[in-house]
């Protein structure tokens, strides 16, 4: 069993659900984003997801898209981001940090060397929404060598056979996208085709894998988090937290986190 899975399962013994809070590195500045990360870790969030910004975040909705574009004004580098995360990981050993970014900045850095460098920085897992499993053989190998978890995503559109395939390949945890569309509040017309109810979707995943399940996309209230009790292990909050931060700064973001704990 991976270190990340062990950590999540131990935490879950005392808590009905864990929180994964998301912060865009460099938004609104690098220092302010790091201060927010420290606040969140001080507040005791079990998992922190750090997004290294990319100019074209195609799976993100308006809130995170805007934050990424603002963050890029700071000209962040992945090397410095890894250094900053290493300091956080050292100061907050009771939580785990995951790095999320789109493929191109990571490809530019070197997809082969990233897992080892990220692991050395104390990062527990890597989330890359535009890297599909079938094109990731070399990356997965590098992750195994570096003992860091590549975190794969499942969605309500993922057919059963592929769900099985992804679950078989996964380790650490799975990121279950709660619904169609992009991150944040619904911004596009989601069409007429029926969506599977969330509980059926999560039950189907639960029946396929014993790995911890994180649920994200559109999760922003304590009621939503509570509704996930018993169906998932981790609630992932991204745009909701960012919207709170944009509204009232770090204190509002912390209030939001407390309200999610219910």
């Amino acid at each position: 069993m991976s270190k990340l899975q062990t950590f999540i399962e131990q935490q879950r013994k005392e808590k009905p659900i864990l929180l994964m809070t998301h912060v865009v590195y460099g938004y609104p500045t690098i220092d302010e984003s790091l201060a927010l990360m420290r606040d969140l870790l001080n507040e005791g969030v079990e998992l922190l997801e750090v997004q290294f910004p990319f100019s074209d975040p195609s799976a993100d909705g308006p809130s995170i898209l805007h934050a990424c574009h603002q963050a890029l004004q700071q000209r962040p580098t992945l090397a410095r981001c890894l250094e900053d995360i290493a300091l956080l990981a050292e100061d907050f050993p009771a939580s785990r940090i995951l790095l999320m970014s789109y493929l191109n900045p990571l490809y530019r850095y070197g997809l082969e060397r990233l897992p080892a460098d990220a692991a050395a920085a104390g990062i527990a897992g890597l989330i890359i929404p535009d890297l599909p499993l079938e094109l990731a053989a070399d990356f997965r190998h590098s992750c195994v060598e570096a003992r860091i978890e590549p975190i794969w995503m499942l969605t309500p559109e993922t057919p059963p056979a592929r769900m099985q395939q992804i679950c078989d390949a996964a380790s650490g945890m799975l990121y279950c996208v709660s619904r169609r569309g992009v991150t944040g509040a619904d911004s596009h017309n989601s069409g007429n085709s029926q969506q599977v109810p969330l509980e059926d979707y999560l039950a189907a995943i639960r029946a396929t894998t014993p790995l911890p399940l994180g649920v994200g996309f559109g999760i922003r209230t304590g009621v939503q988090v509570k509704a996930l009790h018993g169906m998932a292990d981790i609630a992932v909050v991204g745009s909701g937290l960012l919207d709170a931060f944009n509204h009232g700064g770090r204190s509002a973001a912390l209030e939001q986190v407390r309200s999610l704990r219910g």
Partner: protein, 411 residues
């Protein structure tokens, strides 16, 4: 050109969020069946002829030839398609595929607006709902096209994020597709994006090259010696070039947008001059204009349709192998070429296509008079009236608009 599981050498692939995977696979299956179905192919051919007016002519240019004093110049007249651009070839093909798949809604991105207009036309003809994403900056440059899209019943959504051009529109179209992957078809307008788009769009556009081949043999008894095409996303270039890929005697030249110069943000040169570098974004691997952190850069061209940060993986591969020679023409050369074609041959090319003309004008004087050069006029220039009026500093255009506005405000 057949891909190897979606790859063309080191480029291509399908790097998309998991939410789109099932829909992308369904498209791949539908395309693989349709491409070998003679009924489907016959239906596409019929629509190309009866709706778009194909075949488009191969027009000799005796005056331009005389003026240049080198090779003989011929133009492939994609500007004479319905909608005024080669974009129609692709939307007819994909539109009929959408009907076959039973989907009711299409999403499209557009730069200059030509693909947007073509998508809106085919949506009206086939009874499909149509949403078009267009960069707010491009809307400012090409409002007349937006006007027609709306008149045709399409919903046009301005994209205000990033540089507000084609690449941002493409990201937003992907986001829309993610919200309704099984109900909507993403009608991508160029030979870019995840598999099977590059291969499928290039195949629908290859009617251009197949016609050139037959017309050359008929009109001058041999294949052309050189073919020039502008390269934005790369679909008109792939379309005219791919049917000649095995004819080593035919030189294939792609012309990118040199813009104002080689400084970052001033051009859209991905393949020539070593300005681009390998990357993976917008669903596929290709040569992108990007910084050392892998952030995609802003681009510029006088022609909105060439103002794109990536390029077809097919052309990136053919540039790798040396089969296609890539070059660039800057904004000034393009305006000169545009005016030459107007004055000498009475043809108004799109500013995009004028890049191909500019590239050819540079080489033709040094070529022997028995050589034949074909330039792809991918679209007509009427849409560029505002930009051209501004570039040629027409004294009457501004006052005309003021009088028009004054009349409209009174009415």
């Amino acid at each position: 050109m057949q891909s190897d599981k979606g790859f063309f050498g080191r480029f291509g692939g399908s790097y998309i969020p998991e939410i789109l995977h099932a829909s992308q696979q369904a498209l791949l299956d539908a395309w693989n069946q349709a491409r070998v179905d003679s009924d489907f192919l016959a239906e596409v051919d019929r629509e190309l002829q009866q709706y778009s007016g194909r075949p488009t002519p191969l027009t000799p240019c005796p005056n331009l030839t005389r003026e240049l004093g080198g090779a003989q110049v011929f133009l492939k007249r994609e500007d004479l398609n319905h909608s005024g651009a080669h974009k129609m070839n692709n939307v007819i093909g994909q539109g009929l595929l959408v009907k076959r798949m039973g989907k009711k809604r299409i999403i499209a991105e557009t730069g200059a607006g030509q693909h947007g207009v073509a998508s809106a036309l085919i949506a009206a003809r086939l009874g499909l709902e149509c949403t078009i994403y267009m960069g707010a900056r491009d809307i400012e440059r090409q409002y007349p096209n937006v006007f027609w899209m709306k008149q045709l019943g399409a919903t046009v959504v301005p994209v205000t994020s990033g540089g507000q051009t084609l690449r941002d529109a493409l990201d937003e179209a992907l986001r829309d597709w993610s919200a309704d992957p099984s109900g909507s078809h993403y009608l991508l307008g160029t030979a870019c994006g995840c598999a099977p788009y590059p291969e499928m769009v290039a195949e629908f556009q290859s009617v251009i090259g197949r016609e050139v081949r037959a017309q050359s043999l008929q009109q001058f008894g041999t294949l052309p010696d050189s073919i020039y095409a502008c390269v934005g996303g790369g679909s008109n270039a792939a379309g005219i070039m791919l049917p000649f890929i095995d004819d080593q005697s035919v030189e294939l030249v792609g012309v990118e947008a040199g813009g104002r110069g080689p400084a970052p943000g001033d051009h859209s040169i991905r393949l020539s001059d070593d300005l681009g570098s390998p990357g993976i974004a917008q669903g596929f691997a290709t040569m992108f204009l990007q910084d050392d952190q892998g952030q995609l850069m802003e681009t510029h061209s006088i022609a909105a349709g060439l103002d794109y940060v990536g390029v077809s993986p097919i052309l990136a591969h053919l540039n790798d192998t040396g089969r296609v020679r890539m070059t660039a023409a800057n904004d000034d050369e393009v305006m000169h070429a545009f005016q030459a074609l107007l004055r000498l041959e009475g043809i108004i090319p799109a500013l995009e296509s004028s890049h191909a003309v500019a590239g050819a004008l540079r080489d033709i004087p040094a070529m022997s008079p028995d050589k034949k050069v074909v330039i792809n006029i991918s679209g007509r220039g009427d849409k560029d009236i505002f930009n051209v009026a501004s570039a040629v500093k027409d004294a009457e255009f501004g006052p005309f608009l003021q009088r028009y506005l004054a009349r409209e405000l009174q009415a």
